[in-house]
């Protein structure tokens, strides 16, 4: 099971600022270990973000994203108390969903 994400969601003016920190190795599939064997690719492939029950982001990500990545974005029209649901799925089918409330 994947480790939980850290989500921060705050109203800044008329939009919500959401930042999410994900725990993931994000292996590119191009590195080799000490024995010379290729470390298999293992990275987050898709991300979805729902705010207040509405899908606001549906994204595809690849191996160029860092280990333990951070994503930040602003959502217009959100309000304090809205629920933020973030989900990711990686190339091995592992997935994780976490929630937060906009403050």
């Amino acid at each position: 099971m994947a480790d939980p994400m850290k989500i921060r969601a705050q109203m800044k003016g008329d939009s919500a600022e959401i930042r999410v920190l994900m725990s993931h190795p994000m292996e590119t599939g191009q590195r080799k270990d000490n024995a010379g064997n290729v470390v298999p690719a293992h990275f987050i492939q898709s991300i979805t973000v729902d705010v207040g029950g509405k899908r606001v982001i549906q994204g595809q990500t690849g191996p160029a994203i860092s280990r333990n990545p951070v994503f930040g974005f602003k959502v217009k029209g959100a309000k304090a108390g809205d629920k933020v649901v973030i989900n990711w799925v990686d190339n091995k089918g592992d997935k994780r969903t976490d929630e937060a409330t906009i403050s």
Binding site: D3, L21, R67, N68, V70
Partner: protein, 288 residues
């Protein structure tokens, strides 16, 4: 370092604009600017690095390790099936973590010795949970996707001392003695390169490449070194503790590397920590 490209681009853009502003006093963190002015006027490069660090600290993956450490701290584990939360005294009472990290290393009556944070956690894992010390010392430092449990635990413990003043006690004779031993090790020249810790860390204004080396014999330098550990190293994306930092300094000096959680490291941490006393610890940090 393909890692954290977004942050790097932001920092690069900033350094361009910041260079122009370098002649003016830094406008945002006034308190920080003052603290730095006390040291010496910061050159443009140093100011840029500070700015870079501020940007990175906003989202520090160290939090992920704190979360892992919390699970490990609270879970019943080991051959004895005991949790650290119900057995381990970090100096402020069993299971009490608030402010513990900024008061370590300190004297512990139950073992009649001075211990630093990581050494104390290792001690608790062996004594109460029944883990074997040899197993803990087998692969004690992070690498690649591997993070030792002790690293996450130390990060979790350190997280409870965020924004607190460093107050490492120097009352017990053993605490004073440990400080003195640390001071001696710090100045002890040996090895194929005839190095001591103070060769690099005993004078102001030294650096390795772009990395400024704090002068650990002064309060300003000691806090810079105490600050930011345990730290998330972006190079490789791993979490490291002060045990690793000290060990790596020995390695770089071509000294024999000390045993894991060796008393000599406690002595060095005591020397550095006491020199930093009275200043504020920001919590687990992030490093280049």
């Amino acid at each position: 370092m393909k890692k954290r490209i977004g942050a790097l681009v932001a920092a690069a853009a900033m350094s361009a604009s910041f260079a122009v502003l370098a002649q003016q006093p830094a406008k945002k963190p006034a308190a920080k600017a003052q603290a730095k002015a006390a040291q010496k006027a910061p050159d443009a490069t140093t100011a840029d690095f500070e700015k870079f660090r501020d940007v990175l600290e906003e989202d520090n993956p160290a939090e992920l390790f704190e979360a892992k450490g919390e699970e490990l701290w609270k879970a019943k584990r080991g051959p004895n099936n005991v949790s650290l939360a119900e057995s381990c005294d970090m100096g402020r009472g069993v299971g009490v973590l608030k402010g513990a990290y900024v008061q370590l290393p300190r004297y512990f009556a139950d073992v009649d010795a001075v211990m630093d944070a990581e050494r104390r956690i290792a001690h608790c894992m062996v004594k109460y949970q029944g883990f074997k010390a040899e197993d803990l010392a087998k692969k004690p430092f992070s690498s690649g996707n591997y993070t030792p449990e002790l690293v996450s635990l130390t990060t979790y413990v350190a997280g409870h001392s965020r924004k607190m003043k460093i107050a490492i006690p120097q009352k017990h004779p053993k605490e004073k003695e440990t400080y003195q031993i640390g001071k001696e090790i710090f100045a002890y020249r040996a090895g194929p390169w005839d190095f001591s810790c103070s060769t690099c860390h005993g004078e102001d204004g030294k650096r390795i490449r772009t990395q400024n080396l704090p002068n650990l014999s002064t309060p300003e330098g000691a806090i810079r070194a105490f600050q930011g550990w345990p730290g998330y190293r972006m190079t490789g994306g791993v979490m490291h503790t002060l045990q690793w930092r000290m060990n790596d300094c020995f390695r770089q000096q071509r000294f024999p590397e000390p045993n894991y959680v060796s008393p000599s490291i406690t002595a060095l941490l005591s020397y550095m920590g006491v020199n930093a006393n009275g200043q504020v610890y920001k919590g687990p940090g992030i490093k280049r």
